[in-house]
């Protein structure tokens, strides 16, 4: 410890404190004064004389300071020179180390840049940590609807005491028709106080006025920077122009700054949604996602408690439906990034293990190198250098390597930050990932840590005095042929590589298992898209139903189309909407009937090829309300086939009431995602769950080939609407598993690199041992040992290290595999097949990596090496 402290002070010299200098000088003057007092002077006079004799205190102190600064500068210059000499003297070694570190530190910094931007940094809104998402939640769990009624939002905002303001939004996908062609726009309809909660103001123009936020007030819309660019080429005269969006017409009052992309980056327009509109007054009419801004210094916990009080007051005032509702809250940041945190941390953990492997690899290289420089080191000792100065010099060399490595690594990180932007669909806040000074500082810190990790051991070991002095006479050594430290480093590398490989193996096997699953529906040859519509249209539900029917009929008539349907949510893409049902009006206390509630048109089962098992397919007419259930529902809640003919209704009261007769039972499908087992599901046969449902078109050939035909047909049918989101269903399913595939790919890549590094470490160490023991091998051979025996001895050493590393890696892997739970499918975290194959693979490659150097070590010519001495 003492040695470390001294080393630290040598690298980072203590700046001499003024206080210490003052005390030292003060003492001198005091002693001097005392001597004058002894000579008979008065204390005052003595002190004055002493000060006079000492001369300018400030000047002395300045000279002392210069001593310290110049010592530091000298030391830096000397060590930098030595380091650059070292790099130039062994370029291959240097380049190998720099490249290894560049990759390891670069990958690490790249992942750090993502973690920093996505998880660590606050949201890009002023005081983003004050923002929280507020949900209403059915306390009895009968309804998964989290949206909040406009009147309730206004109550919350008025009655609470912990939030600065509460607002909300919902999204509409619409057509904007003031241009030559209808253009699809995403409009956020926002509750009053929206900009106040977000604390942003328009870059140009003005926010909404009070009047504009009320029903029948003046119309107004704010446009995004992207829309301004696209439609108006950044012409400021866009202010005041009118937009025709769906059935509404707005005038543009402001343009938002480019950084403002809330609730998502696709939003083009923000328009007020009046809480006092006639259709918004019922407490059952729920549509807002609610955002609140806490008062400064108030915790979310306090805010949540406050809202709970408010809601219980509302429950007394409006027992139905408010008595059943509770308030749930979540930091806005958590809502945005919570889903990817575990994946990002997993990748970060793996890439850090990789850096550790690289470090121990380089440490082993350095250990061998310092051993070879024993002669040089002993000469420096004999020239009077202290151990500290030699260690400092050795560390400076490593630091030079690490610094170059981390600088090159920043290039890797810069490239990666571009790659991250391509993941924008999967990774929230991906556009905020940049190479900035925080990443640079991180990278530099990594270089320092690497220097200490790689360099300290070899430097301390290589400069042990006894060893070096003993060697001053010659370069041959017996002492270092055993090198337990070298082998320990190899074992560390194998251990970490095994750990990474286990993680990658488990994820790979999960991915395989998912690929083998038949989801219960056929996702191939299906084209999906949406057609713009607005929630405003729902005041004439009949019209919406007819409009969608018309579109479905028009599409069905197209050659090459075999089936068409609409669905509220896409099959195989997670969107669980859990609802509690009553069968024939009965609720069984303690046994709630919970099911995923999906709205589909009658053609859905044909289009998705979900088989009808019992009964008949539902119909949708103005007078009927039919539902279908899946087998899981029938089995769990209705004991089989007798389900047909019973009445189902939603237990909780809300606007989207599902109510109807069970017409038939269909096969189980993995509607919630390929990796999620089918859940009990109720299909409500209704083609218009929202004004812009997903269309699903089954085609004979390649679905994307039909895209243009379909787009044209819809333009004929609905000239003022736009078609958007065209892609194949398969693509949606792939997108849904991007995060999974990405982390699996990355982890596999890291694991492969780790195995390669561990092999290089093993190979290098054995080769080095072979060189050190040339003489010993020569003697053995001369004494009649067989070459195969020598090979076996070396091989044994290598494989023993691999076996010990494997065992340690298994233990570590077992311990760390619990971080993977929740990411695995079809395998447990303790899957024996994975563990066994990892062990086999490692032992195999370890044996291969050991073979070459072992054979080479045994191929020395006894006569030659013995004569050399």
């Amino acid at each position: 410890m003492e040695g470390l402290r001294r080393l630290f002070h040598r690298l980072v010299p203590r700046s001499v404190s003024d206080d210490a200098m003052d005390r030292e000088i003060g003492h001198h003057i005091a002693e001097l004064a005392q001597s004058y007092i002894a000579q008979g002077l008065t204390p005052d006079e003595a002190h004055r004389r002493a000060m006079l004799e000492f001369g300018g205190c400030e000047q002395v102190k300045q000279t002392i300071r210069e001593v310290h600064v110049s010592a530091l500068a000298e030391s830096i210059a000397f060590n930098a020179q030595a380091a650059s000499r070292f790099l130039r003297k062994s370029p291959t070694f240097s380049i190998a180390v720099i490249l290894t570190l560049a990759l390891a530190i670069g990958a690490n910094s790249a992942v750090f840049s993502a973690i920093d931007a996505v998880i660590l940094r606050p949201l890009p809104y002023p005081s983003g940590d004050q923002l929280a998402v507020l949900y209403q939640h059915d306390a009895k769990g009968r309804d998964a609807n989290h949206f909040v009624a406009p009147v309730r939002l206004e109550d919350w905002n008025r009655m609470n005491s912990t939030f600065q303001a509460i607002s909300g939004y919902y999204l509409d996908d619409l057509s904007e028709t003031s241009g030559s062609l209808p253009e699809r726009v995403t409009e956020a309809l926002v509750a009053p106080r929206f900009l106040q909660v977000m604390e942003v103001s328009p870059a140009l123009g003005r926010p909404f006025t009070r009047e504009e936020e009320h029903w029948a007030g003046p119309d107004a819309v704010l446009i995004s920077d992207g829309f301004w660019e696209r439609r108006f080429h950044r012409d400021p005269s866009a202010l005041g122009k009118r937009l025709k969006v769906g059935t509404f017409s707005y005038s543009i009052v402001g343009i938002m700054p480019p950084s403002f992309q809330f609730p998502n980056r696709d939003v083009d327009l923000w328009a007020p949604s009046a809480p006092d509109a006639p259709y918004a007054l019922r407490r059952e009419a729920t549509w807002f996602t609610v955002i609140g801004r806490l008062k400064p210094g108030v915790t979310l916990q306090a805010g949540t408690a406050d809202l709970a009080t408010v809601q219980s007051q509302l429950g007394k005032q409006f027992p139905k439906p408010d008595a059943d509702l509770i308030v749930q809250t979540e930091p806005l940041k958590e809502t945005i990034v919570g889903g990817v945190r575990s994946s990002l941390l997993l990748v970060y953990g793996s890439v850090s293990l990789l850096l550790l492997i690289a470090c121990s690899n380089i440490a082993a290289l350095l250990l061998a190198r310092t051993a070879e420089r024993e002669h040089e080191i002993s000469i420096r000792y004999s020239l009077g250098a202290s151990r500290m100065s030699i260690v400092t010099q050795l560390l400076s060399e490593v630091f030079a390597l690490a610094l170059l490595g981390s600088l090159t690594g920043l290039l890797v990180a810069a490239g990666a930050s571009h790659a991250f932007h391509l993941l924008a669909k999967t990774l929230p806040r991906a556009e905020e990932i940049t190479l900035n000074w925080r990443v640079a500082v991180y990278s530099l810190t990594a270089a320092v840590a690497t220097t200490i990790l790689c360099g300290l051991f070899p430097a301390l070991r290589g400069t042990r005095r006894g060893l070096a002095q003993g060697l001053a006479s010659g370069s041959r050594t017996q002492a270092s042929t055993r090198n337990p430290l070298q082998w320990a480093l190899v074992m560390v590398q194998v251990t970490l590589a095994v750990t990474l490989l286990i993680g990658a193996g488990l994820l790979l096997r999960s991915l395989q298992a998912i690929a083998r699953v038949y989801p219960g529906f056929d996702p191939t040859h299906v084209l999906t898209f949406q057609v713009s519509g607005s929630w405003g249209e729902t005041s004439d539900m009949k019209g919406v139903v007819q409009r969608i029917d018309r579109t479905l009929d028009g599409l069905r008539a197209l050659p090459g189309v075999t089936d068409v349907a609409t669905s509220g949510t896409l099959p195989g893409v997670s969107s669980l909407y859990q609802t509690e049902f009553k069968i024939d009006g009965n609720v069984q206390p303690g046994h709630p009937i919970l099911a995923d509630n999906r709205f589909v048109s009658v053609g859905y089962f044909g289009a998705m090829q979900i088989p009808l098992l019992v009964g008949e397919t539902c119909r949708q007419t103005p007078s009927t309300n039919d539902v279908m259930v899946n087998r899981a529902f029938a089995d769990r809640y209705m004991s089989g086939a007798s389900a047909v003919g019973h009445q189902l209704s939603a237990a909780a009261y809300n606007d989207f009431q599902t109510q109807g007769m069970i017409r038939g039972i269909v096969g189980d499908a993995r509607e919630e995602g390929l990796n999620i087992l089918p859940v009990p599901t109720v299909y409500s046969c209704f083609n218009a769950p929202n004004p812009f449902p997903n269309y699903l078109v089954r085609t004979q050939g390649d679905p994307m080939a039909m895209a243009e035909t379909i787009r044209r047909r819809i333009h004929e049918l609905e000239p003022s609407r736009s078609v958007y989101g065209i892609s194949s269903l398969q693509e949606h399913l792939d997108d849904a598993s991007t995060e999974n595939r990405l982390r699996t790919t990355l982890l596999s890549l890291f694991a492969a690199t780790a195995v390669a590094l561990a092999c290089i470490g093993l190979y290098g160490t054995l080769s080095y041992m072979g060189r050190l023991r040339q003489r010993e091998v020569g003697v053995r051979l001369a004494l009649g040992a067989l070459r195969s025996q020598i090979v076996a001895r070396f091989l044994f050493q290598g494989i023993r290290a691999a076996v010990i590393g494997c065992l340690a890696g298994l233990a570590l892997g077992l311990g760390l595999s619990r971080f993977l739970t929740g990411m695995l499918y079809g395998v447990t975290a303790l899957d024996p097949t994975t563990y066994a194959s990892v062990i086999c693979l490692i032992l195999l490659v370890a044996a291969l990596a050991s073979l070459v150097p072992s054979v080479r070590a045994a191929s020395v010519e006894p006569v030659k090496v013995l004569r050399e001495d």
Binding site: M21, E24, I25, H27, H28, V60, E66, V67, H68, A71
Partner: protein, 112 residues
């Protein structure tokens, strides 16, 4: 004899003198200046302006170590002592000095 001026001291001589004085036992800056003055019969007067920077320089090089302690008059003072490296350095410098002064004396005595 009159005191020598600071400039008359050979480069590096002050270091040697300090090392030698400190070698006698832990001592503070004031003590060092007093000893040099006494032992040289007041021929050598070390300026504080060069003494303290020299002490810090020697400490920096690792030849001197320093601790705070109490002086004989009960004051807090910084005591310097010789490190192992300093002892070696003192031996080297003393050796160099002896050879140098011997050579100088030889020249002065023979080159009449």
């Amino acid at each position: 004899m009159a005191p020598l001026e600071k400039a008359d001291l050979l480069q590096g001589t002050l270091d040697l003198l300090i090392l030698k004085v400190v070698a006698l036992g832990p001592v503070h800056g004031y003590g060092i200046s007093q000893r040099i003055r006494q032992i040289s019969d007041a021929v050598l007067l070390v300026q504080q302006g060069s003494l303290y920077p020299a002490l810090h320089r020697l400490e920096k090089r690792g030849w001197l170590a320093a601790d705070w302690g109490e002086s004989e008059n009960g004051r807090q003072a910084k005591f310097y002592r010789l490190s192992a490296a300093g002892r070696k350095q003192l031996a080297t410098e003393q050796e160099t000095w002896n050879r140098l002064s011997k050579a100088v004396v030889q020249i002065l005595e023979t080159a009449h």
